[in-house]
Symmetry: C2
Subunit: 244 residues, 2 copies
């Protein structure tokens, strides 16, 4: 479970408790407000799990080794370019998916939830089926409900390691992020992006890349192709004297 | 949902939030610590639901009009004389049950959970399937998880009214409590109880009575029989001069 920019130490503590309740020991906190994080860990009766939890500055550091990323959202954002699944239907969705490997489950901050950028890293968006007149759950309770659903459906082992051995294993987030970064580099050099739309276009590319469900092998093949194109562009830039 | 002797205003607030999240508006708090209850209701951003929630001194006042009572417990108490069902199996259990009517779902205090006496009022005990090394959940999170399971399985409408119209409707708690009270009276007069075992024997009788799944009609028939026995004993006491 990954808490992105949580603000309330009680919620961090409650999330840790829920994880312990359902047999998971893997908590990562992204860019917590420093006093909040300190307070959560030093609280009287704090979960032992909080002592081993990692705090990292960037989301990618939390999910780099994961092969499936799930984002929780109330679905209030209008531009839903991705499948939004009710939590109770998530087990069926997961069963249809070929491979899983290491899973990250993202929860946004209490006030704003996950940002568009956070959500663009997710393979699927999950919505807890709350009432339309009171959709937004308390963070600790949302974590507890998701942990319960995972335990109930017994689909994802809370501490499952990444699938590493086979080239047919799903590519992890770090590999895909690297591929996207090089692709953006090429597209910048090719004047593909419009100045205003660049950020939104990158989010779309990221979603597109995730939807391909690339294996490690696929990602290597694509990476080699991208490297060649990079080389070709750099060469031509050197010739014309223009920067790549 | 019924919170029995909650101690932490944050937990009361969190429970109310979970109810609102899952479309329920029915919260009763039994014998709350008075400052706790005041603080929970006056908290900044308190759920509107807390303004309409009832606080009652005794459990029976909270569940009197209910026809099915569910108790949550970690199952740590050894003398489990009642079926203990994992929350994820509760929907199947409920489907097998003939009638439901108005349902009360009990949660005990943060420290001690539900007492043996509280549990003896329950038709079934439910356990959230937590890890054995960290079984005890935070109260607000436990409420959220149970609300989610009810919403997911769509079995119990959160604000369902009691079934009143038919004699074949299940007898409610108040009717059964009254029947038990009169029965105890008779058994006291008949020197049935042992001085030390009286309380435990009463709990057993209550469980036995619940397991009969009496209808309103059944309860009336039994009530009439009990009334006759009471009358007979009172008459003989009057004759012998002994108190009934």
């Amino acid at each position: 479970m990954v808490l992105v920019r949580p603000r309330n130490p009680l919620n961090i503590g409650a999330a840790a408790r829920a994880l312990a309740n359902f047999g998971s020991s893997d908590l990562v906190v992204v860019a917590p407000y420093e006093p909040t994080w300190r307070e959560a860990r030093s609280a009287v009766g704090a979960e032992p799990l909080l002592q081993t939890a990692r705090a990292v500055p960037k989301l990618l550091e939390a999910i780099g080794d994961c092969q499936l990323v799930i984002g929780t959202t109330t679905g209030a954002r209008r531009h839903c370019e991705r499948e939004l699944i009710s939590l109770d239907r998530f087990p069926a969705w997961l069963r249809r998916r070929k491979a899983r490997g290491r899973v990250a489950w993202l929860f946004g901050s209490e006030k704003t939830g996950l940002s568009n950028d956070d959500l663009s890293h997710c393979h699927v968006w999950v919505r807890i089926p709350t009432a339309s007149d009171c959709p937004s759950m308390n963070l600790g309770q949302a974590v507890a409900v998701c942990c319960y659903e995972l335990a109930r459906s017994a689909l994802v082992h809370p501490n499952a390691p990444a699938i590493k051995t086979s080239p047919s294993a799903p590519a992890n987030v770090q590999t895909l992020a690297h591929l996207l970064e090089r692709t953006i580099h090429i597209l910048d050099a090719s004047s593909y992006f419009t100045p205003k739309g660049r950020q939104a276009q990158i989010l779309k590319l990221r979603r597109f890349l995730l939807d391909l469900e690339l294996t490690q092998h696929d990602a290597r093949v694509l990476g080699a192709a991208v490297a060649q194109i990079e080389w070709r562009i750099a060469k031509s830039s050197a010739r014309t004297g223009k920067p790549a």
